[in-house]
């Protein structure tokens, strides 16, 4: 009696369970639809050139190429919390590249993170942002990768994420929750310049991949300006990517539109010089954008309101020569190691050497960028083919954790800076993580 009731109940439950499982299996393995299903591409030179420009906007090369290797042949290692994965070969090689992809296959991979056969890509590929690319730009990008890139048969490196963590289907559920699924739609209330800026920033430029804080599922907390977290600043890969909103201290509140354009075009302005992960974004991507597009980005970013609650009281410069405060911890190091370039007054040298007074990295509570650049220096900034004359040297061999903590504490509490003191333990931790010889180095580049 009891048994038969159990059997009946099980029968009643089995049906919905099977249906649910079936639906789930269909959902997580389905090939999403593409508007290009029936389309036969007819690329011409103009379209290929346009595609190359879209590839610059999207900075594909940053992950899909290694220095000294064939462009777009893949290979960049990214250590995720689950294990290392490697960017793939996206040259038109038919065996190891994407030479056999149709336009619809290409679209599914780039805008939806789905490879042919329904396998889900890891969201290290910024398809949650690329989803906003327009159909026209997708056609152009496809034309460039098929006709404008030399095929390379460089083999892909399999990921070393162990089973069952390497199962890809749960990513489909993640996508349903966290990825955009439609191309950018223009806001009729805004002008064309703003809309173009919004398109580049949210879509191909995928600025949010670094600058938007992430949630528990490693999802960007907002993918467009409807969310206050969008581009509000985030800690990633041992750097703090600052706010790109109108925050006076930690964002772009003090930058004019021409200054934003100058920064993205030349890598520097009177407020800052590109460093950290942004160096690569500048070297490979932003400097190649047209002046009109940079102007559009500036217009859009200047429209994102700041948050005085998060940002604190507006920074004001307080004049002081570090040489007059030699008694303060860290001041001696500053005078002897930093002041030659950044000035005893902390004001830097015009747009060539950035000021530390009022610098975002010295005002933000997050101190990763300040520590990281002091330990490891800056990378080569190459503007219009010319390497920069001035570079931050790596001080990891010259200064102890305590000395770096003291000098950064000095800088972050002087000239009106409000970042606050730095603990030697934080320096030690980042020193370990950014040492290529350490057992757990930071090599993740979630661009």
């Amino acid at each position: 009696m009891k048994n038969s009731r159990l059997v009946t109940t099980t029968r009643w439950l089995a049906l919905p369970c099977l249906v649910a499982a079936g639906l789930l299996a269909w959902y997580v393995t389905r090939e999403v639809t593409s508007p290009f299903e029936q389309e036969t591409p007819s690329p011409d030179q103009a379209l290929i050139a346009r595609g190359e420009y879209v590839a610059r906007l999207s900075d594909c090369v940053a992950c899909h190429s290694l220095p000294g290797k064939a462009p777009f042949a893949g290979g960049l290692e990214m250590a995720t919390p689950l294990g290392a994965i490697h960017a793939t070969n996206i040259t038109p090689d038919r065996k190891n590249g994407i030479g056999s992809y149709s336009l619809a296959d290409f679209d599914r991979a780039v805008r939806h993170g789905v490879a042919p056969g329904g396998r889900r890509l890891y969201p290290a590929m910024p398809y949650p942002s690329y989803a906003k690319l327009s159909d026209d730009d997708m056609r152009a990008l496809y034309a460039f990768f098929m006709k404008g890139v030399q095929p390379s048969d460089q083999a892909n490196i399999p990921s070393d994420i162990p089973w069952p963590l390497n199962l890809r289907w749960p990513i489909a559920l993640w996508n349903g929750l966290f990825a955009a699924d439609k191309p950018y739609a223009e806001k009729p209330t805004e002008d064309p310049l703003w809309n173009r800026g919004a398109y580049i920033v949210q879509g191909p430029g995928h600025c949010g991949s670094c600058h938007t804080p992430r949630g528990l599922a490693f999802n960007e907390k907002a993918l467009d300006d409807s969310g206050e977290a969008f581009l509000a600043g985030a800690l990633l890969d041992g750097w703090y990517a600052p706010s790109l909103r109108q925050d006076h201290n930690t964002g772009l509140g003090r930058w004019s539109e021409p200054e934003i354009v100058q920064f993205l075009k030349t890598g520097r302005n009177k407020h800052a010089v590109v460093y950290g992960s942004m160096t690569e974004a500048f070297n490979n991507s932003t400097q190649f954008m047209s002046d009109d597009d940079l102007g559009a980005i500036a217009r859009y970013l200047k429209s994102l309101p700041g948050d005085p609650q998060r940002d604190g009281a507006p920074w004001q410069y307080q004049a002081m020569s570090a040489a007059t405060r030699l008694d303060a911890p860290g001041a001696h190091s500053y005078v002897t190691r930093c002041a030659s370039c950044h000035g005893l007054d902390g004001q830097g040298q015009a747009e060539w050497i950035p000021p530390l007074a009022g610098a975002t990295s010295m005002l933000a509570k997050e101190n990763a960028s300040a520590i990281n650049i002091t330990l490891n220096g800056s990378q080569r900034v190459v503007a219009a083919g010319v390497p920069d004359a001035y570079r931050m040297p790596a001080l990891r061999e010259q200064m102890s954790d305590q000395e770096i903590a003291e000098v950064l504490s000095f800088v972050r509490t002087t000239w009106g800076n409000t970042g606050g003191a730095v603990d030697a333990k934080a320096v030690a931790k980042l020193r370990e993580h950014t040492d290529p010889a350490s057992s757990s180095p930071i090599v993740l580049h979630m661009r």
């Binding site: 220095p67 070297n283 190649f288 002897t336 030659s340 370039c341 040298q349 004359a389 001035y390």
Partner: protein, 174 residues
């Protein structure tokens, strides 16, 4: 890091060169240089004053020290556009300055130099210190005299600077 040349970009350097006027050692020079050219390159390569030395190029060693408006700067990290309208002094003219003259005399008296490569920078650092602070404290000396010397002449430098610091007035009147 990655800069693959899948579309070779050529430098547009025709717009980068600027004509500018520099004041160095009480003389005026016409210079054509990019605004961000290090002052050191202009002094040595364009104007042929080779007393100022190139050491590290990263503001770490001080071999390239010169005076700008009486303050010591490291010429390898000083964009030339930043010194237009200011007075630059190099080792070639340091003895025209009364303090500089005393420093050089003390350097000779203590036979500071060994190979000598860093010494023009050392003299500039000492001169700038004593111009601002005729009788510096030990701490002020240690904060100012930080240029590197691979021969290890630090003891001799230390002796010369401390002697100058101890007798500011006596030598000043000479």
């Amino acid at each position: 890091m990655h800069c693959p040349a899948y579309n070779d970009e050529t430098p547009t350097d025709d717009q980068r060169v600027n004509a500018m006027e520099l004041r160095i050692n009480q003389k005026t020079y016409q210079v054509d240089a990019d605004a961000d050219t290090p002052l050191l390159w202009v002094i040595r390569d364009d104007l042929g004053m080779t007393g100022t030395k190139y050491g590290c190029g990263l503001a770490q060693c001080g071999a390239c020290s010169v005076l700008v408006d009486g303050n010591v700067v490291r010429a390898c990290v000083t964009p030339v556009a930043g010194v237009v309208g200011r007075e630059v002094t190099t080792i070639e003219a340091i003895e025209a300055d009364p303090v500089g003259k005393r420093v050089v005399a003390a350097w000779v008296e203590h036979q500071v130099a060994q190979c000598g490569y860093c010494q023009s920078g050392q003299v500039m650092a000492a001169t700038a210190l004593l111009k601002h602070t005729p009788a510096p404290s030990d701490e002020q000396i240690s904060a100012a005299m930080v240029n590197l010397c691979r021969c290890g002449t630090y003891n001799a430098i230390h002796a010369a600077v401390h002697e100058l610091a101890a007798q500011p007035a006596a030598k000043e009147s000479v």
